[in-house]
Each structure stands twice: as structure tokens, then as C-alpha cells.
């Protein structure tokens, strides 16, 4: 039995569970559960009202079903919407007071929260199931006025900011999963960068689903005030379970005049075993609003995990001269499915957007790039460039490209390119001739294929991502 466990862990090294006592809300989705969550978070009344409004709206919304990967119907009454480590209910004041088991978990994940403080200068907010358990580097950030805290804390301490921006990019009424999140979101990160401040370090959040039958619904809100800059990283893992778990997060970014936000994700949720059993349904809504002039939002994502990934990190380019960028690598293996891409909505003049998407499918997996470029009639002199390339390994997998291109402005230019190919025999032969074994050769070629996107990641992440790309494709060459 034990050996079997260890064998299993070899494939997905984050697949362990942590035995920590949990406090949970009752199962199911109803008014009481939402009240419970709101109470557990000690939220003011306006927040509860907001949640209730979303819940009312949810009742009349229908789950969308136009996506390529189909999934069995989710029973929303069979999910725990709130789960917190018991020790966190009395909130520790510093990291030293944290439950040692929790610290161990994060150590296993490669994020030793304590050492982090001294070592590489990345501020981390760790979210375990439904609560944020630790945020590092608070003092240093306070000095320059950056607010980086769990969103539940921000609701209490900075209600004016939260009230103003929460739901301003992804409205309550947006679509089924976004509305569900608005009703039941539990925790997540809140970032506010004051005018003219360049955030002195990378900010990072690590999400982990631990408890079984739990959905994770985090909410992230990042506001970059005039002339500021922030780079934000997000990583996620979950234990291996045979059931499918739902992850429906909302991420909202707001960039005001001359501000820049760089948002990077390395998504490595449990993808299910090689027969496609279990795994996370990653249905995330991410949207950035370039509200001010000359603002810039850049999304970078490396998607290797999840049974089903279904998300479109988007940019609404409202301010004149604003820039939206999207860099993505999506890798699917075994029975994983992904339907991902981006939306670039050009509203302001002289707006620019760039989309680079690389998809790699292997095994029995299915990958879809779906993107929208919409240039409105007012977006004079706008430009878009899109490139999406797919790489197929074997003939049991699929790679699809579904771009929607709408141009209503004659002074704007849109260019779109896409290719689909496989690793050629010549390339493999060349590498093998120089002493690489077939797997190494494929790894090298794939890394070359992804290079454009990997370059966009902050250094520490790039190394991790590169390794992840290698691991995800292990066993796919035969």
C-alpha cells in the first residue's frame, strides 16, 4: 500500500495531503452557507449584501456549455464552499505562530515561508483551502505604502478601495462561474500600489486545495495607481484525489494612468491520473482593465495542470495608448483538456495588443486556443498581433485553434498567424546525433518552441516553469 502511494507521488510530486484539522461550512450552496462564510470572515454588512446580490443573480443564470471540453454535470450542492485549517481560526500574528504542519506543507511545495523572508526577496501570500494563512514581508512593503494582504483583511481595513474596485472589471452579473465566485469567494490576495511607486519586490501567492470535496473560490484584486508598477506571481497545487474538484477563481486587475501590471501564473493543479480519473476543473475568470492612458497589463501563463483548464485572461484596453499582452504555454498530456486563450478588447485610441500562444498536446489530450480580438469603431490606429502555434505528439491527441477576429476600424491593423506541426524527424535526429536521448531531445525542442513565452517570466519562475514543461511531457515520447 505504502509503496503504491510513493509510486503515485512520483508522477505528481505535489500530490500529498496534509492532515490538518479543518473547520468547514456545511455542504451545499444556499443562503446560510454564504452567511456562514461572511460571518467567518467577519465581513461588514455591505459585503454580505453584495454576495447575496450575486447569489440571487446566480439563480437565473445558466451554466455555459459552448466550450470544447465537456465535463459531467457538477453538483453544486455536493461541495464544501468553505474549509479552513482549525489553527487559523485564531489568526496568528507572525509566521512563527503558524501550525508547524502548515509550514511543513509549504516547505514540501518548495515555499519555505520562514526562509523566504531572508532569501530571495519575494513577498508571498499563501492560501490554504479557503483562507490565507501567511503573508510575508509585510513591513518592508508597508514602508513604501504597498498594501499586500488577504482580501478578507482588505475588506475590513480598506473598505473604500475594495468597494470602489471589486466587481468593476468582472461585474457581478458577468457569467455563471464569475457570479458563483462573487457569491462564495473565501479568500485571495489584495494588492494596492500607491501612485508613482515601483513595487520593490515580486509579489506572489501560492494556492493550495487540501481538503477533499472542497471547491476553491479565491478572489484576487490588484490595483496599480497612477504611474506605479507591480509584478505578481501565482502558483497552484492540489493533492491527488479520485474526485474532480472545482476551482473557480476571479482575478481583477486595474491599471490607472501610466501604470503597469505584470501577472504571471504557473498553474500546476493536479491533472488527474493517466486514465483521466480525478483532477481539478480549473474554470477561472481573469480580466484586466487598462483604465488610464498609457497603462499596460501583461498576462503570462504556463498551464500544465488541471483535468480541464477553461480560462481566458483578458485585457480591456480602455485608456488611450494602453497596451495588453498575453503570453501563454499550455501543455496537455494523458486525458487532460484545455480550452484557453485570451480576449483583447480595444476601446481606446492607439491601443496595442500582442498575443503569443504555444500549445502542446500529447497522449489522449485535447487542446483548444480560443481568442477574441475586437477593435471597436472608436479605437483608432490600434494594432493587434496574434501568433498561436500548436505542437502535436502522437495522433491520439487534438489541437484546435478558434480565433474570433472583429475589426470595425479602418485605421487599425490586425494580423493573425497560426501553425500546427509536429517535431520533425530531422530535428530529433540532429539532437540525438549529438548525444541526447530521445526524451532530452524532445525536451530541448519543446523548450525552444516555448522560449518566447518563458522569457517573459520572472527568473525564479522561469526555472520552475522550464522544469515543469519537462515533467509534464515525460512518457509522451515513444
Amino acid at each position: 500500500m505504502r509503496e503504491k502511494e510513493i509510486d503515485k507521488l512520483k508522477d505528481y510530486k505535489y500530490g500529498f495531503t496534509t492532515d490538518i484539522e479543518n473547520v468547514r461550512a456545511p455542504k451545499g450552496l444556499n443562503k446560510e452557507v454564504i452567511e456562514y462564510i461572511s460571518k467567518a470572515k467577519k465581513e461588514p454588512n455591505w459585503m454580505l449584501d453584495w454576495r447575496m446580490k450575486a447569489f440571487e443573480r446566480l439563480k437565473i443564470l445558466k451554466e455555459p456549455n459552448w466550450q470544447k471540453p465537456k465535463y459531467p454535470k457538477i453538483d453544486y450542492q455536493d461541495i464544501y464552499y468553505y474549509s479552513a485549517p482549525k489553527s487559523a481560526s485564531e489568526k496568528p500574528k507572525s509566521i512563527d505562530e503558524l501550525d508547524p504542519k502548515l509550514l511543513d506543507t509549504y516547505k514540501k511545495l518548495g515555499i519555505p515561508l520562514q526562509e523566504q523572508q531572508r532569501l530571495n526577496g519575494i513577498a508571498v501570500d499563501a492560501v490554504f483551502d479557503s483562507v490565507s494563512v501567511a503573508t510575508t514581508f509585510k513591513d518592508k512593503l508597508n514602508e513604501v505604502g504597498v498594501i499586500f494582504c488577504p482580501i478578507s483583511e482588505a475588506i475590513q481595513k480598506h473598505p473604500e478601495l475594495v468597494k470602489k474596485y471589486l466587481g468593476s472589471v468582472i461585474p457581478l452579473t458577468d457569467h455563471y462561474f464569475a457570479t458563483l465566485n462573487s457569491a462564495v469567494f473565501t479568500d485571495g490576495s489584495f494588492v494596492y500600489i500607491p501612485p508613482g511607486v515601483r513595487c520593490p519586490m515580486e509579489l506572489s501567492t501560492y494556492f493550495r486545495i487540501n481538503a477533499s470535496q472542497t471547491g476553491q473560490f479565491e478572489r484576487t484584486l490588484i490595483i496599480a495607481d497612477k504611474g506605479s508598477y507591480v509584478s505578481y506571481l501565482e502558483g497552484c497545487t492540489a493533492p491527488m484525489r479520485d474526485e474532480n474538484q472545482l476551482h473557480a477563481a476571479n482575478v481583477e486587475l486595474v491599471a490607472l494612468d501610466n501604470a503597469e501590471i505584470k501577472y504571471s501564473t504557473v498553474q500546476n493543479w493536479y491533472p488527474g491520473d493517466e486514465n483521466g480519473k480525478g483532477g481539478i476543473y480549473n474554470f477561472v475568470t481573469k480580466r484586466g482593465l487598462c483604465k488610464g492612458i498609457n497603462s499596460k497589463i501583461s498576462w503570462t501563463q504556463v498551464e500544465t495542470g488541471s483535468a480541464i483548464t477553461w480560462k481566458y485572461p483578458s485585457c480591456v484596453l480602455q485608456g488611450d495608448n494602453s497596451i495588453g499582452e498575453f503570453y501563454s504555454i499550455a501543455i496537455t498530456n494523458n486525458y487532460q483538456k484545455a480550452d484557453t486563450g485570451t480576449k483583447m478588447i480595444h476601446l481606446g485610441k492607439n491601443t496595442r495588443s500582442k498575443i503569443i500562444s504555444k500549445g502542446i498536446s500529447a497522449g489522449f489530450s485535447d487542446m483548444t486556443y480560443r481568442g477574441l480580438v475586437d477593435i471597436s469603431s472608436k479605437a483608432k490606429n490600434s494594432r493587434n498581433y496574434t501568433q498561436c502555434d500548436s505542437l502535436l505528439m502522437g495522433n491520439k491527441c487534438g489541437a484546435h485553434t478558434v480565433p474570433y477576429i472583429k475589426n470595425k476600424n479602418p485605421e487599425s491593423n490586425i494580423a493573425h498567424e497560426a501553425t500546427t506541426s509536429k517535431i520533425s524527424e530531422e530535428q530529433l535526429h540532429y539532437c540525438q546525433q549529438r548525444g541526447l536521448n530521445p526524451e532530452e531531445a524532445v525536451g530541448l525542442i519543446v523548450n525552444g518552441f516555448c522560449k518566447e513565452v518563458l522569457q517573459q517570466l520572472p527568473m525564479e519562475f522561469a526555472v520552475e516553469a522550464q522544469k515543469l514543461v519537462g515533467i509534464s511531457l515525460e512518457g509522451s515520447v515513444g
Binding site: W66, S377, S390, L392, M393, G394, N395, K396, C397, G398, A399, H400, T401, V402, P403, Y404, I405, K406, N407, K408, N409, P410, E411, S412, N413, I414, A415, H416, E417, A418, T419, T420, S421, K422
Partner: protein
């Protein structure tokens, strides 16, 4: 509208002598259409062109019954000059002339007493509508090893007598082994606000060649839908060229199935739109076996408040190794209120394939205009020259030189 449909349908059944079998199939199709209605934007295929809305906006009191008992006069002047050709002439949906003067009689067969097949796509309500209301359905067979000496032109003419009617035509073309056909679809409309629904089916046997040129160049305010189903066997070649310019609304749908090895399909199209015209080309190329090839090139020039849509899909089955698929769409937007929407789609399940697509849209290059103006052309001449060059690229893809020249004349392009 449903009431009108029911009355018209019963009238059609009563006044025509369809076989029992056909009536049964027609009823089925009719019910399918009643259930589904005209497609609207909620259907992915009609996302950019809401036909239901377009019809209700443009056509008042659409009626579906068409009295075909009296012959119509053919206006000889519309026949294409300077090109010797065979003729099939439809006037207001009624066949008026079948003329194959240049061909050996026993090499071509035309059937018109056919049993309808159940429409192969129940989700397409317009095919159901066509099946239900088509009065005579033709099948042209080109015999083994025969190549038509001269092109065949199918004239689809409507005259002033026709107002607010729904016209349904259905033509099957069967090319036997090693045969070939050049087919020109030529439409000329003097009528107002009708809905014309044409269902073509092409069956290409081994080594056969089909060249189909669809010309819709004369301005009119009819709404049109052309559905083309193509099935190709080993080594067959299909070439389709679309000149999409005249009608108020037109959607050309091409569903091409490459079932035989080494078969290839070419689709080239041009949009030239002005006023508030709204045209769409939708292609669906299915690569079902290995070593097949497809090539698509679509270009558009849009003026005033016109709108063009290109939805192109390449599907590659997991068996279809060594597929070569290519797709390119480009548009020039000349006015503030024009719109170009593209959805170039790839769905691929095989790994040894070369597929690529590209799409670009934007304005005329000011530098090029400046260059030409500095050499003495005025602004309009420079613009015209650039647009002609842009479109000529597609016309040059036509492999039949006679028809290429004809189309150049129609578009008043000169080299």
C-alpha cells in the same frame, strides 16, 4: 409566419404531383424547419450574421409558395457574351432552358424525377426548408472519361415579377471517374427582396475535376444562401471561386469532404462590398484520409457601412496524416463604419500535418499611396491601382484562362 408557412406548404403539396415517398420526406423536413425556424445568432455558425433578423428586417410578408405553372420569358441580353457555353437557365426558380449544344449527347444525363434524400444535416434548418419547398430537383451526371468541351453556365435569374418570395433550388452534380466539368454560376436579379436558397451537392469520383465559379456581381436587394456540399474520392480536384459582391446579403457555405487519398480542394473568394451589404463565406474542409490538400484564399474590400465575414474551418481526422492545409484571409477597410469579422479555425487530431492560417485586416497602406502619387497618379487612381492589385492576387489563382479573363472583365480589372 408559421401560419403562412403551413398554408403555402399545403398549397404546394396540393398543386404538385409529388410521389408519395417525396411527400413523406417533405413533411419531415417541413416539421424540422417549423421547429427550428430561420437560424439566428445564438447558433455558432450564424454568430456574425443573424439571418432571422436580416430576413425580418428586409422582407415583409415573405411567402413560400411559388406558382411555377406558367413559363417566364428569358431576357437573352444577360447571357454571357464572347464565351461559348452550355446553358441551364432558371427564371424565378423555374427551369426554362436546358441546352448542351457543344456536347456529346450520351455523355451527359439529366434526371429530374428523383426521390429526395433525407437532408443529411438536420441542424441546418435552411436545408430542411429547401427540401420541403423545392419543386423539381435536378441531377446532372457526367459519364466516365468525359470532359465537357465547353463550360456549363447555370443562370439563376429573377425578374421584376418576383417580390417577397422564397425560392428554393436543388441541384446535384455527379462526376463519374476521370470526368471533368467547368461550371459557372451566374446570377442576375432585377427582383426585389426575395430569399433565395440554393442547395448544391457535388460528388466527385476518382480522378474527376470540378471547377466552379460563382459570380454574384449585379447589385440587388435579395437575401441569398448557397449551400455547397462536396464529396471527393481518390485524386479528385475541386476548385471553387467566389465573387461575392452584388446581393444585399449572401452567405456561401462550402462543406468539402476529402474522402480519397491525394484529393485536393481549393477555395478562393473575393468580397467587394459597398452600401450596407453584408456577405459571408463559411468553409468547412474535412480532411478525412491521408495525403490530402486544401488551400483557401479570401480577400475583401469594404466600403460605406458594409460588413464581411469569413468563417473558415480546417478539420483533420486522426487518420489524415500528411495533410496540408492552408488558409489566408485579408481585408481592406475603406470607411469608418465597415466591419470585417474572421474566424479561421483549425481542428486537428493528427500529428504529421502542416496546417497554417493567417488573417489580417486594416486600411490601405499610406506609404504605397504616397509612392504612386509621387509618380503622378491622383489619390483615387492610386487607391484603385492598389485595390486592384490586392484583388488580382485571388483572380490569378483561377486555373481556367478563358474564365479568368471573363471574371477580370466583369470586375473591370486589367493588367
Amino acid at each position: 409566419m408559421i401560419e403562412q408557412l403551413k398554408i403555402d406548404f399545403e398549397k404546394l403539396i396540393k398543386n404538385s404531383n409529388f410521389s408519395k415517398k417525396n411527400v413523406e420526406i417533405k413533411r419531415k423536413s417541413f416539421h424540422n424547419f417549423i421547429e427550428k425556424g430561420f437560424p439566428n445568432r445564438r447558433e455558432e455558425n450564424w454568430k456574425f450574421s443573424d439571418l432571422n433578423q436580416i430576413i425580418s428586417k428586409n422582407i415583409k410578408n415573405l411567402s413560400f409558395y411559388n406558382d411555377l405553372s406558367k413559363p417566364n420569358k428569358i431576357d437573352q441580353s444577360i447571357f454571357i457574351d464572347g464565351l461559348e457555353h452550355n446553358k441551364l437557365v432558371f427564371v424565378n426558380g423555374r427551369i426554362e432552358k436546358i441546352e448542351f449544344d457543344y456536347e456529346e449527347k450520351n455523355k451527359i444525363e439529366i434526371l429530374d424525377d428523383l426521390v429526395l434524400e433525407k437532408s443529411n444535416d438536420d441542424n441546418n434548418s435552411l436545408l430542411s426548408l429547401n427540401n420541403a419547398f423545392v419543386s423539381k430537383y435536378f441531377k446532372l451526371i457526367v459519364k466516365k472519361n468525359y470532359s465537357l468541351q465547353k463550360p456549363l453556365v447555370i443562370y439563376n435569374i429573377t425578374n421584376k415579377d418576383l417580390v417577397s418570395k422564397s425560392i428554393n433550388l436543388k441541384v446535384d452534380i455527379f462526376l463519374e471517374e476521370n470526368s471533368s466539368l467547368k461550371l459557372v454560376d451566374f446570377s442576375d436579379d432585377k427582383s426585389n427582396t426575395n430569399f433565395i436558397n440554393v442547395n448544391y451537392s457535388f460528388d466527385l469520383q476518382k480522378y474527376s475535376i470540378l471547377k466552379n465559379y460563382k459570380i454574384d456581381n449585379n447589385s440587388n436587394n435579395n437575401i441569398k444562401y448557397y449551400f455547397n456540399y462536396i464529396s471527393q474520392e481518390i485524386n479528385s480536384v475541386s476548385e471553387i471561386f467566389l465573387l461575392s459582391s452584388g446581393s444585399e446579403f449572401i452567405k456561401n457555405e462550402i462543406n468539402c469532404n476529402l474522402r480519397g487519398k491525394y484529393s485536393s480542394a481549393f477555395v478562393n473568394g473575393i468580397f467587394i462590398l459597398n452600401k450596407k451589404k453584408h456577405h459571408e463565406i463559411k468553409t468547412n474542409i474535412n480532411h478525412l484520409v491521408e495525403n490530402t490538400k486544401s488551400y483557401q484564399l479570401i480577400k475583401g474590400v469594404l466600403e460605406d457601412t458594409s460588413k464581411a465575414v469569413y468563417q473558415g474551418k480546417i478539420f483533420v481526422d486522426s487518420k489524415a496524416q500528411r495533410t496540408n492545409g492552408y488558409q489566408l484571409s485579408k481585408a481592406i477597410l475603406l470607411n469608418d463604419n465597415t466591419e470585417f469579422n474572421a474566424k479561421p479555425e483549425l481542428e486537428i487530431y493528427a500529428d504529421d500535418v502542416k496546417c497554417s492560417h493567417g488573417s489580417a485586416s486594416g486600411s490601405l497602406n499610406e506609404d504605397s499611396i504616397f509612392y504612386l502619387m509621387s509618380r503622378g497618379l491622383n489619390y483615387n487612381e492610386a487607391k484603385k491601382l492598389l485595390i486592384n492589385g490586392f484583388l488580382l492576387d485571388v483572380v490569378e489563382k483561377i486555373t481556367d484562362s478563358e474564365i479568368k479573363n471573363l471574371i477580370k472583365n466583369i470586375m473591370s480589372l486589367k493588367q
